[in-house]
Symmetry: C2
C-alpha cells in the first residue's frame, strides 16, 4: 500500500507543494516520508500481528472494569509514542503541524494493520481538536493537551438507546450544579443524567482518565426538555474528576459502564452503554455526573458538526484501508495457490501442472475489482483530506472552493468506500475459496470489521439524504458546480492521452447525465417524493465521482509513464491505467440503472404499504 | 414464510396436481400441509431457539472426538423423527414418496430456523439417494436404509487440500484389499489412503456410525495415479466397520479426524479434515481405510454428478431461507423501532412523536429489496424442485423439457440466491443500525452463515463457467431455447393484465437482448476469450431469469386478486405485484451493464498482468 500512498500524495496530489506554505514550512518530502516510515513500521510490527488477537479476545466486563487483552494496551502505547494523536496540531501544543492529507495517509497504515487496535485513537484526536476550536483556554490546556499527549483518551457521546441517528430526541439532561456553578475554572458546571449508547472506548484502563464529550439538553423552567436540536449543548464529562491544573482530584465522576456491545467486528474497540448520573459513583454525596459546558448553551450540534467532515473522511479512509488489507491478502494467496489449468484450443491437459489461480480470468477480475474499489477509495479519501489542507491554508479563493467541494464530497467519501470496500473484502474471501471462510486466514475478519462503516458516523441512507437533501442544492448549487468544473477539466485533460480519450468522453457524458437527472428528479416534487430515491441517487453520484477520480489517476500515471517508461514503476503505472479501464467498462455503465428511478421519481418505495410485505 | 410457500406451491406451481400421478396418488393437499405443519413446528420449537447456541459453542476436538453442544444432538434427533431424511423415497424404503418440491419447501423451514442445525441432514439424504441409484442391493439395504432411518449419517468426501474445485487432481489412492477383495458382500473391497478437506459432518457422535462416500483414484500397474478425472472411482468408507446385515463388527475403520475448520458461520456443522489410511486405527493390523466400490471403477464422477442438480438447488433454497430469516427479523424490527419523523412541506416537526422506521422510504426500499431477493430465490428454488418432479414423473415430453430446463437453470438457482440473499442479509443488518452489528440480534449471524453459499457446491465463478461453457450451448442450445420459450409465454401472458403489460414488454426485450448478446459474445472467439467474462454474463442471465420468475409470480397474484379481491390475501398479493415492479424498475436495468463487456469480449481481465496489481 505504501507505494500507492506515495503515488497518491506526491505524484497525484502534489502534497510536497504544501511545504511552501507557512504552516508547513518546516516540513519536506523527507519529514513526510519519515512519518509514513515510522507509522508503517509500528503498524507492521505491533498492529498487524495482534489484529486477530483483538478479535478473538473481545472486551469483557468484570464488575465495573472493562477487561482488554494486553495487545490493546501495547498498541495504544505505540500509537501514543508515534506522536500521531497531535499530528496536525501546532508545535506549541506538542503537535507536528502535519497536513491533514499526511495525517490521514499515516493513519491508513494503522487501519489496514488493525482497525480495532491502538485505542481507537481518532476519537481522542477528534475530541481534542473540537476542544481546540470551541473550548476555553483552561479546557484546552487541561483536557485537549492531556489528550494530545495520550495521558487521557477521549470519547464522543451522542447516541442514546431511543435516539440513534435522531439527535433531537436525546433525553440526557444537564442541570446547573448549584448556585456557584458558573464559577468553576473548568467551565460552567452541570450535573448530567441519562444513558448514552454505542460509545466507543467508553470505558477502559488504557489511559489514566477518559474525557467524554456529551450532548445533553438543559430543561426549561418547568423542567421539560426542549424539542428539536436547538436546546442541545455540549459538555466535558471526565471519568475521574480533575482540577484546573489537570491533576486528578482522586474522586470518581458519576459515569458508569452499564454494558458492552458484543460486536460482529472491530472488537478491539470496547463499545459501551454508559450511565450518567445514576448514583453509582455519587459526587460530593449526590448522584449526577459532573460536566463542564463547552461554548454556549445550545451550541452542541454546531460544535459537533465542526468535526464531522474529518470524521467522515476518516471512515472512508478506514474502509479503504480494511479493503486494502483484504486485497493484499488475496493477492498473496492467488499468487501462491495452484488450482486448475488453462483452457487451450484442445481443452485442458490434465497431465500438465496446476497453475497459480492468479492466472484465471475470473480471479484476475476479482483482484482488479478490489484494486479499483480500494485504491479508488483511498484516493478519494486523501483527495478530501488534501481539501481540508486547502481549506485551512490555501488562498481565499482556493479555500472557498475546497470548502464547497468538501460539502458535496463528504457524503461520497463516507459512503462509497464503506459500500464498495466491503464488496472488495467479500471478493477477497471468494478468492480464498473455503479457506477464506475460516479463521486460518485474515480475510473473514476484514469483511466483518468493514461492515461497521456503512452504519456509524451516519448510515448509508443518511448520507444519501445529506447529499440530495442538503448538499447538491445548497447555496444555489455552488458546491455541485465546483465539482462539475473539476469533472470538466479532468475530462478535457484526458484528450491529450490517446489511451484515455474515450474515458474523457464517457466522463463528460456521465456528468451531463447526472446534471440532467438531478434537475429532472429534484424539480417539481415534494421533498418526500424527491428524497424517496435518495439512495439510488447516492450510488449513481458516487460512481460518477469515482469515474472522475480514476480518470485523473490514470492521467497522472500516463504522465509519469512518459518519463518513467521502462523503470521499476512502469508495471504499477500500467496497472493504474488498466484499473481505470475496468471502472469505465464495468462500473460506470451501472449509473443509468440508478438514475432512472430517481429522475422519474419512482413511487415504488413511497407507496409501499406495511401490510404488503 | 409459510404463507409464501403455500402461494408458491399451490397457487403458482400447482403441486396439488401431482397427486393425480401414480407415485403421489396417496398424497393430497392435506398430507402436504401436514408435512409442512410438522416441519414448521419442529423448526420453530427446536431449531430456531438453538440457532445462536450452535454459533457460539462451535465444534471442538477433544482427542479423537468432536464435541458438539447438546442442541446439535437434539435437533438432529428431531429432524430424524420428522421422517424427512427419506421423505422422497419409496414407502418400502421407509419413505413418504413426497415430491421433491414439497421436500425442498419443508427443508427451507429448517434452514430458515437454523441452517447449521439438525446434523446437516441433506448430506445424509443425498448420500443415501446416490446409493439408491448406483449401489448394489446389499449396499442399499446396509448403507442407504440405515441412513434414511437416521441410524447412521452420511458425508461426501470430494475435496482435498491441494485440490479444491479440481477433482482431476485428487491424490487419494484406492488399492484392492488382498486377493479376495472382490468376494466381499458389501462390494469390491479396497484400502484407501489420502486426506480429504472440507468434509461437513466428517466426524461426530450424533449417529451410531458415519457413511463416507469417497472419491479416489486406483493406481495403474506401475503404481501411478491416472491423470484427469477418468480414473476417479467412488467408495463407501464407513467410520466403523459393518457386516452385510448392517451390524457393527466392533472394529473401527482407519479414518481419523485430523482437524476442524474454524468457520465464519454455519458453525453447527463440524467441518473436518479427514485422514484415510494413515494407520491411526489399523484394520486387521494394517493401515488403510476399508472401502467398498460403488458402481464400476472410473464411475466416480458420473455417480456424483447425478446428485449435483439437487444439491445445487438445495444450496439456492438454503440461501433463500437464510435470507428470509433476515427479512423477517428486520421487518419485525422496522415495525417496532421508532426513529425520526416524516418530512412535511414545512420540514420536520420535532414536537411530534417519532415514527416506526418502516415508514421511512429508505427502510421500505431495504425491506422491499430483501423481499424481492428472498422470495424470488425461494420461488426459483421451488420451481427447479418442481422440475425434478416433472423429470421423474412427467410424460416423456414434459420430462425431457424439465431435464433441459434444469440443465440451464442449475447454475442460476445455485448462484443467484447465494449472491443476492447475502445482500438481503446485509440490508437486514443495515435496517437494524448499530443493533444489527451486535450479537443481541440474529441478523449478523445470518449474514455470516449465508456467506458460505457462494463458495461451496461449486463457487460463483464455477457456476459461470458451467452456464456459459457448457449449458447455454449444449445440445445445439436446446436447454436455452426451452427456457426462452418459457420467457415468451410468460411475457405474452402478461399482456392480459394492464398492470403487468409493460413488464411483459420489458421481459421480451431483455430476453431478446440476452439472445443477441449470447450469440455475439460466443461466436468467433477462443474459449478463453469467451469465458473471460463468464461471471458478468452469469449475473446478467440470472437477472433475466428472475425477471421472468417475478413476472410469472405477479401474474399468478393478479389472477388470484380477480377472485380473492378484498379477502385476507389481498395485501400479500398486492405486495407480490409491487415486488415485481421493484425488480423491473430497479434491478432488470442493470443487465445491460453486465452484457456489454461480455458481448464485446472485453480483454481487461485476460490481459491483466500479475505485476500490474
Amino acid at each position: 500500500m505504501r507505494k500507492v500512498i506515495d503515488f497518491l500524495l506526491y505524484d497525484w496530489l502534489g502534497v510536497e507543494g504544501l511545504t511552501s506554505r507557512e504552516r508547513f514550512a518546516e516540513h519536506s518530502r523527507e519529514t513526510f516520508d519519515g512519518v509514513l516510515d515510522t507509522c508503517g513500521r509500528i503498524a507492521a510490527e505491533q498492529f498487524a500481528p495482534n489484529n486477530r488477537q483483538a478479535d478473538v479476545q473481545e472486551p469483557r466486563l468484570d464488575g465495573d472494569t472493562v477487561v482488554l487483552p494486553r495487545c490493546a494496551y501495547e498498541t495504544a502505547r505505540a500509537y501514543v509514542e508515534s506522536g500521531m494523536l497531535a499530528a496536525a496540531q501546532d508545535y506549541e501544543m506538542g503537535g507536528m503541524q502535519l497536513p491533514c492529507s499526511l495525517q490521514m495517509a499515516a493513519n491508513s497504515l494503522f487501519w489496514k494493520a488493525g482497525v480495532g487496535l491502538g485505542g481507537a485513537p481518532m476519537l481522542t484526536t477528534a475530541n481534542a481538536n473540537l476542544l481546540m476550536v470551541h473550548g476555553t483556554s483552561v479546557q484546552k490546556s487541561v483536557f485537549a493537551l492531556n489528550e494530545f499527549s495520550g495521558r487521557w483518551f477521549g470519547t464522543m457521546c451522542l447516541s442514546e438507546p431511543q435516539a440513534g441517528s435522531s439527535i433531537s430526541d436525546i433525553t440526557t439532561r444537564a442541570v446547573p450544579d448549584g448556585p456557584g456553578h458558573t464559577d468553576d475554572r473548568l467551565g460552567p458546571r452541570y450535573r448530567l443524567y441519562g444513558n448514552k449508547m454505542w460509545i466507543s472506548n467508553g470505558d477502559h484502563e488504557i489511559s489514566e482518565n477518559i474525557v467524554h464529550l456529551v450532548l445533553a439538553k438543559t430543561p426549561d423552567s418547568d423542567g421539560a426538555l426542549p424539542a428539536g436540536t436547538k436546546g442541545v449543548s455540549l459538555f466535558i464529562v471526565p471519568k475521574k474528576l480533575v482540577d484546573a491544573n489537570g491533576g486528578l482530584t482522586g474522586e470518581r465522576n458519576d459515569v458508569a459502564v452499564a454494558g458492552l456491545n458484543h460486536k460482529l467486528g472491530c472488537r478491539g474497540i470496547p463499545n459501551t452503554l454508559l450511565n450518567f448520573g445514576e448514583g453509582r459513583f455519587p459526587v460530593a454525596g449526590t448522584a449526577g455526573a459532573v460536566g463542564y459546558l463547552v461554548a454556549n448553551p445550545g451550541d452542541g450540534l454546531r460544535c459537533m458538526f465542526h468535526m464531522m467532515n474529518e470524521a467522515r473522511i476518516a471512515v472512508g479512509v478506514a474502509a479503504a484501508s480494511i479493503g486494502y488489507a483484504g486485497y493484499e491478502a488475496s493477492l498473496v494467496y492467488a499468487r501462491a495457490r495452484r488450482q486448475g489449468r488453462p483452457v487451450g484450443p484442445a481443452g485442458k491437459d490434465p497431465a500438465s501442472p496446476q497453475i497459480p489461480i492468479i492466472e484465471h480470468a475470473d480471479v484476475k477480475r476479482m483482484l482488479l475489482a478490489q484494486k479499483v474499489y480500494v485504491e479508488g477509495s483511498l484516493a478519494l479519501g486523501l483527495f478530501c483530506a488534501r481539501l481540508v489542507d486547502e481549506q485551512r491554508t490555501g488562498n481565499p479563493t482556493d479555500s472557498a472552493d475546497a470548502t464547497a467541494l468538501l460539502e458535496v464530497l463528504t457524503p461520497i467519501v463516507k459512503s462509497w468506500p464503506s459500500r464498495w470496500c466491503l464488496e472488495a473484502n467479500s471478493l477477497a474471501i471468494q478468492i480464498h475459496g473455503g479457506y477464506g471462510y475460516t479463521r486460518d486466514f485474515p480475510v473473514e475478519q476484514y469483511w466483518r470489521d468493514n461492515r461497521l462503516n456503512m452504519i456509524h458516523e451516519g448510515t448509508h441512507g443518511i448520507q444519501a439524504l445529506d447529499l440530495l437533501g442538503r448538499k447538491v442544492g445548497a447555496d444555489g448549487g455552488r458546491a455541485f458546480q465546483t465539482l462539475l468544473a473539476k469533472f470538466k477539466s479532468v475530462s478535457e485533460g484526458a484528450a491529450a492521452f490517446p489511451e484515455l480519450s474515450r474515458f474523457g468522453v464517457a466522463l463528460r457524458e456521465a456528468a451531463a447525465d447526472l446534471v440532467r437527472s438531478t434537475a429532472q428528479g429534484s424539480s417539481g416534487g415534494s421533498p418526500s417524493e424527491v428524497l424517496a430515491n435518495a439512495t439510488p441517487y447516492l450510488e449513481a453520484f458516487g460512481h460518477v465521482v469515482m469515474a472522475w477520480i480514476w480518470l485523473d489517476l490514470a492521467r497522472a500515471a500516463q504522465q509519469q509513464l512518459l518519463t518513467d517508461h521502462l523503470t521499476e514503476n512502469e508495471a504499477r503505472l500500467r496497472g493504474v491505467v488498466r484499473a481505470a479501464g475496468y471502472f469505465y467498462d464495468y462500473e460506470l455503465p451501472q449509473v443509468r440503472a440508478w438514475l432512472t428511478p430517481f429522475e422519474e421519481r419512482n413511487a415504488t418505495f413511497r407507496e409501499m404499504q406495511d401490510s404488503w410485505y
